[in-house]
């Protein structure tokens, strides 16, 4: 019974934090420096790893699908396969998992530590709203950065896939054919699909991680528990919402 109550408390708390954050977005202009700083942080934390993950995923996708398509003589469709897989599904989900793991965890740790060491209380006594000061810049930075990171990972993944398609003797597809086929399939709607997903995931990651950080009480041990909790909940929510957002996009003919 208590667990059920805690669950609904948390859901209510998350929605409440989201609404307050949206309200404080009106102060974004006065907090551009903080938002910029957070965007730089997200970039620093994710770009090198994103490069590795995306290149490897695109390459493996080509390596596994290419020879199979070649068996049926339709290997020229490999560009479309890699392109669509990356932009609609793999790019947004992988980028979100990466951001939740690297950036979301840092958000929870930083805000959690501020909660534990009275810094949030200090903000309140200075009449500085913690949502405006801490959550809003992280929220906006995440929803701006994540779609950009997805585009970056998509492009890197395509390049990785195209290189394997070219150099692997079982596929042996020229760059020209690969990217011409890719551009046939990767439409504006497909790009928009990936962007909408990453936007939704950005909201989830920032709100969940900030919420759990703000709720942290106790000491250093609790900060560690909060970080683990924030990352796990973010992962689970990304996967659950991925399904429902995809269904919604199918419904509105964006898939």
């Amino acid at each position: 019974m208590r667990k059920i109550r805690n669950f609904f408390d948390s859901v209510g708390g998350l929605i409440n934090l989201l609404l307050k954050t949206l309200y404080w977005c009106r102060a974004a202009y006065w907090n551009l420096d903080k938002i910029y700083l957070q965007i730089v942080e997200i970039g620093n934390h994710t770009l090198p790893v994103a490069l590795l993950i995306a290149a490897s995923t695109g390459a493996v996708l080509s390596l596994q699908s290419g020879p199979l398509l070649a068996q049926f003589g339709i290997e020229e469709n490999l560009g479309g396969l890699v392109g669509i897989s990356m932009i609609k599904e793999l790019g947004p989900v992988m980028a979100s998992i990466l951001v939740a793991g690297r950036v979301g965890s840092a958000m929870t740790a930083e805000i959690g530590s501020m909660s534990v060491y009275d810094e949030i209380d200090a903000l309140k006594t200075m009449n500085i709203n913690p949502v405006r000061f801490l959550v809003m810049p992280r929220f906006l930075a995440t929803i701006i950065s994540l779609p950009l990171l997805v585009i970056y990972m998509d492009i890197v993944g395509w390049i990785g896939g195209s290189i394997v398609a070219k150099v692997n003797p079982d596929i042996n597809l020229s760059y020209d054919v690969f990217f011409r086929n890719l551009s046939d399939y990767v439409t504006f709607e497909a790009v928009l699909n990936g962007m909408i997903k990453s936007f939704v995931f950005g909201i989830l990651i920032s709100i969940v991680c900030c919420y759990i950080g703000l709720k942290t009480k106790g000491g250093p041990r609790e900060i560690g528990s909060s970080v683990t909790k924030a990352v796990v909940i973010s992962f689970v929510l990304i996967l659950i919402f991925d399904y429902y957002v995809t269904r919604f996009l199918l419904l509105v003919n964006l898939d």
Binding site: S113, E119, A122, K124
Partner: protein
């Protein structure tokens, strides 16, 4: 052009407040922490709330600053009851936390200037720098503006937190265990700082402590809190001569120094 020495003086326009606490009760689950507290803090005085650990001192302070909501009772400032959810709309109440609560990601200058910048009280960086520097001078610190909290000692952190409180232009400053964890020399420095603040910033001060020497050194009046109840309020002399057994027991020396072989 404001000179360096009076930038802070020109900026500060504190109007010290009086505080009246009426029948304040607070429980955390089964633990009744504050039991019908009645207390009056006069305009511009330094009131020390003295009590042993766990007596409810910090919880009482957190109610005054609006970080806790009472179960019943009310707090009146300058004759007007305060709304616990909106304490800071009418009065500037600064608190120096026991942990100092400095922002670890900001240097000393940014910590002290945070209130000015976030409330956009002034935008001139040079003027902000002067006020910060003046506030740090008031608390006896110089040349630490670019240091981060992790590079400061406990006493320095407490003084930076006090400078941050001064820059809020407060009507009242609350100190939560200002000397806990500090050596006797630093305790004296903090005591002198609290006495000086009253003159320089002209502000009402409430100090919560279990440090008896500090209490008698800085207080205009002392309130003794025990098990969530105020058991005596009076001038230091009255408390020293108290006939109340709890008060007598609390303020009596606990160690007998024996240096003979």
């Amino acid at each position: 052009m404001t000179t360096t020495s009076n930038a802070l003086e020109n900026y500060l326009k504190s109007s010290p407040v009086s505080v009246k606490i009426e029948n304040l009760n607070k429980s955390f689950e089964d633990n009744h922490v504050l039991k019908g507290i009645d207390l009056e803090i006069r305009t511009g005085e330094t009131l020390v709330i003295l009590g042993k650990s766990g007596s409810g001192k910090t919880v009482l302070l957190r109610h005054i600053v609006g970080l806790e909501r009472p179960d019943s009772g009310r707090i009146i400032m300058n004759g007007e009851p305060i709304d616990p959810d909106n304490v800071h709309s009418k009065h500037r109440i600064a608190i120096v936390f026991q942990s100092s609560a400095l922002f670890n990601s900001l240097n000393v200058e940014d910590n002290v200037a945070l209130y000015l910048r976030e409330h956009r009280i002034m935008s001139d960086k040079i003027e902000i720098g002067r006020i910060v520097s003046n506030a740090l001078n008031v608390v006896g610190l110089e040349g630490v503006e670019k240091k981060f909290p992790s590079e400061l000692s406990g006493g320095m952190k407490r003084r930076v937190a006090t400078a941050r409180a001064i820059v809020m232009n407060p009507d009242i400053i609350l100190f939560d265990e200002p000397t806990s964890g500090l050596d006797p020399v630093m305790t004296k420095t903090i005591g002198d700082l609290i006495i000086n603040l009253k003159e320089k910033v002209r502000v009402t001060q409430i100090v919560v402590t279990h440090d008896i020497e500090l209490a008698f050194y800085i207080a205009d009046r002392i309130a003794v809190l025990s098990s969530g109840k105020i058991i005596q309020v009076g001038k230091p002399k009255d408390i020293y001569n108290s006939m109340d057994p709890t008060v007598k027991n609390f303020i009596s020396p606990k160690f007998q120094i024996n240096v003979e072989e």
